[in-house]
Symmetry: C2
Amino acid sequence: MIEVPVDLPGRACRLLAGPGLLAQAGTLCAEAGLHGTCAIITDENVGRLHGAAATQSLATAGFAPRVLTVPAGENSKSLSAAEDLIDRMLDAGLDRGSFVVALGGGVVGDLAGFVAAIYLRGIPCVQIPTSIVAQVDSSVGGKTGVNARAGKNLIGAFHQPRLVLADTLTLETLPDREYREGFAEVIKHSVIRDAAMLEELDPAAPRADLAPLIARNIAIKAAIVSQDEEERTGLRALLNFGHTVGHAIENAAGYGRLLHGEAISLGMYAALFVSEKKYGLPREQADKVRAKLRAYGLPVVLPPDLGTDALLSAMRHDKKFAAGQIRYVVAPHLGEAFVADDVTEDDIRAAIDSLRK
Amino acid sequence: MIEVPVDLPGRACRLLAGPGLLAQAGTLCAEAGLHGTCAIITDENVGRLHGAAATQSLATAGFAPRVLTVPAGENSKSLSAAEDLIDRMLDAGLDRGSFVVALGGGVVGDLAGFVAAIYLRGIPCVQIPTSIVAQVDSSVGGKTGVNARAGKNLIGAFHQPRLVLADTLTLETLPDREYREGFAEVIKHSVIRDAAMLEELDPAAPRADLAPLIARNIAIKAAIVSQDEEERTGLRALLNFGHTVGHAIENAAGYGRLLHGEAISLGMYAALFVSEKKYGLPREQADKVRAKLRAYGLPVVLPPDLGTDALLSAMRHDKKFAAGQIRYVVAPHLGEAFVADDVTEDDIRAAIDSLRK
């Protein structure tokens, strides 16, 4: 087990990665000072695979766990699903001394984290992410939320988890497509912060050996978050590399057609295009990133029915548009990124069109 | 205009009370560093009376205000009403640089504050409370939220307002019953913190002269909140004097039948009973409080259809019950209170029965 240091003054937050952490969840929750009743929020798929192990570990350590299951998929990331969970938690008698365990991928983590944030004005949350995306990205940093009719993650709260347990054994049961999509965020981390990591990424590496890579990515995310927790200085915004166009693609395609990482892969192609044309990213560096995205089987061509105007319109609804201004993350070199404020709509239009070949 | 000092490190929060503040809202929002589009969230009644004045003041100061109205009454304090407002704010193009103005009583303040807390993970909120309860209590301190099926305020967030403008001119249009109920919270403040204020309360005082009293109450609330913002040390819990039984009465009666302050008045009778029987509150001090509640026409007898068992059951669903333990606020003297942990269910049963005479 690898412990990733994190510096969030005034808050207890412990980040761990390694095989077998799920089985230790109860002990680790007790060490974190938690007690009493907890709600294990999970989806049907993950609940079937890991719900019993989570329950057993927590019950053995003296907790009173209650499993609450939501349907798998993005549709569960809604305010009405949150309300339904809250009603079930109230029925189960969870009080201010209780806590939430989020057991699952990004959808479950965002939803359960948000429920913990607003239940009785906030109770602690333990994240047990079971997908690559959730382990390296969404479970770390305290962003929680649900979708609005007009777009993804438009409703939410900052609520730091008390504990994040990235159990790499849970990756063994991940369907291949979901495993691969997770590497979009890993590749993003290497583009913005860790060029050396890109070389080391191997799609054929055994999942059982991933703990050091997961921990390395959690450390990148945690370092950025601890310096700009609520996205005020612009540093945290670097994590949006590929996400401006990526979110628009995800939104316009309709949730579920493209996985998040697949849409982000296309968004990174667009961001690489802009970075190369306008901010001096060397061609061979951009090609290295493109080759790695292809090596993980991530999409390189936009679904033809997604029109450029529809994507630009979806972009304008994005949280990243402060006061109508486009804030677009670009990389002048591998391992370095910044928020450019002079990217034009024409630049993005050209970048989107480059995804059609 | 009276400015109430508040000490919330790291956050800008300005508290003002006085006649005519609504007309100055635009200027004061600009001084607070706000800009751009804002949503004025209000209800049908307050919107009709003060919506135009708020809009004009903000527009004149260069803001782009948009009035969003909800039906008057407790039913608007729901997660679905919050979602509806969020959808309308997204349609209106409010982004991370925008802000919310809560124009109304406690329901509007709690709902609009919560919407501001979760919109794009949080945008600033300006509270313009128009009722006594909202001015002296609910608009100050950052508690926001909506009701769950199982009870009041069970869903919410801490989100400090950027600015609170308690315009005492808006009290002139308050219906008599809503005016009087507000004094339950004022009397509560005197019981827990300011015995001298009790003597000065005069139901016949002209509403136009209330600014110093409003400011004095905001100062009591702000001083407590600034020392225990998220209800961790127990200090903020003192504000719950009368609220354990009061909330249960409100909940069991069904929202709307008793106003909040009316239910709290009954809850304070119960808390005075327990304080007198078990914690040495002198009879003549308790009687002074009871006389003042009666002077404001607040109820002294429980509606006969509310059974004691139903009230005790409603209490168990309350947030104030940490790990099943009753945490009940008592006053050993006028002006002083503490959280007792040895109040039994029998004590509360006897206190509730005392409300039946």
